[in-house]
Amino acid sequence: MSTTTMNTATAATAAAIPSGRRSVARILALESKYEFLKLLRMPAYVIPTLAFPLVFYMLFGVALRQGPASTYNFPTYLIATYGAFGVMNAALFGLGVGLAVERGQGWLLFKRATPMPPLAPYVGKLVMCMLFGAIMVSALFTLGATAGSVRLPLATWLSLAGVQILGAIPFAAFGLAIGYWAGPNSAPAIINLISLPAAFGSGMWIPIQMMPGVVRKIAPFLPSYHFAQLALKTIGMDDHRESAGQGVTVLAVSTLLSLGLAWVGWRRDEGKTFG
């Protein structure tokens, strides 16, 4: 067997001598595809990411529709905010836990030793969490249009989905920072500790207008509040405290701060590998 192996390998080497080219576009596409497959085969990621927003929507958006708060259009409001919540979680967990785990295993270090384009794994992970976000949002919209009897013009559905999916970017950046600062075991706990209170305090579960004054005062300090407001603007249900431009600016600044934090963590990580 060894002789065959050698001959095959040698023949391949000879054939490959004329300088070949690699395609960065193909690398990014493969990276994204395998990031997606990797997580799709991981129930610990898929179930919380896809199922939680849908289950919450069924409970609070659909089942409580007839309850005491029935004067408010919950099913429509929550389509915007649970979608945003789901995308935010997909990005935080996908980037944060994914990176912390792969960093802890030495896998990222191995990939850095290859001629991989340096940003490829991050791009792959961002595309992957946007894809998961898109799937989750589609399922949520289907649920909203059927069980929730939500009626919106097609253009509104599309712009809502666009805002929600693009909202993955600032949270992917924050996940990146967590991935470089947290260990593989602590990352999920840290993300839950941040994302659940942030989602609640941003009016993602209960309309911000119904929250106590103190929560409404704190909310503008949370990037997730601005994300929720941008999503709500597409359906005209935001709290009118800021313009879309202001919301986008806050999220852009938050993205840059997260990237800076991730960069510092990356530098710290680079000097630490020891053996």
Binding site: M1, S2, T4, T5, M6, T8, A9, T10, A12, T13, A16, I17, S19, G20, R21, R22, S23, R26, I27, L30, E31, Y34, L37, K38, L39, R41, M42, E102, G104, Q105, G106, W107, L109, F110, R112, A113, T114, P115, M116, P117, E270, G271, K272, T273, F274, G275
Partner: protein
Amino acid sequence: MTNQRQIDDDRPLAEMRGGVKKYGAVIALAGIDFAVQPGEVVALLGPNGAGKTTAVQLLLGLNRPSGGEVRLFGQDPRSTAARVRVGAMLQVSKVPETLKVSEHVNLISSYYPNPLPAAAVMAAAGLLGLENRLFGKLSGGQRQRVLFALALCGDPDLLFLDEPTVGLDVEARRAFWSVIENKASEGRSVLLTTHYLEEADALADRIVLISHGRIVAEGTPAEIKSRVAGRKIRCHTVLTLAEASALPGVRAVRREGELTELFTNDADRAVRELLLRDPSLSGLEVEGADLEEAFLALTGADTKEEVAA
């Protein structure tokens, strides 16, 4: 002719001059010079913590040296031009477990301009038939072979193998050696790190022995073996350290409390000499010196001081 690879010139493929790496107050590498020449299989041999992995990381551009110079194919090791010619098997505890073997190979291959065909990679690493298996479902030996396969994807001129058989049982280790030998026999250069003398002996043309971040010996496997593969004699003796170290065949001596340890290549002769000179000798034991102790004997500053005193 067919099994020799084309290398542009005679420059070393990988080279480190005065390589120093400090982590805060800890000195991992204290100034190392060595090179891997075309077609050569070099083993960096040393106990855990000797600085082997650090040396590999500097050569691969994964870590900045605190001093000295590192070149890979005459270039900055971080350059893509250098990296496309290198394949590395690092100490990765786990590869993402929910991807199939073929998917991992496909992705890593995409990074290289002239990758080996996937089938050739699988065959060379002994993974035929496991293409569709998820990494998480593989045995320990199979996992190591996947890491080896990933190092081969780019059809590299130089292979880095960092502790390639650590954690494998004897049988799996030997099977793995023959896989590595196969690749080396194509004229591919290999830099291997290991703390098994047997492994360095089986695979390498040249062994560079390092301990505490320094090169302590360099030579062919036969030369190195004669220096480190010795026996250790433990006893209670009235002989002074100077007398003990002057005994024929004794390489180094160490004393811990009442106990004297002698490192030797010829235990039979050393024991005869010991008994001859110290009839009151007691508590005699002879055992194989492990590599770590052999290094201590070769390098330990404490031994030298005691011997001098």
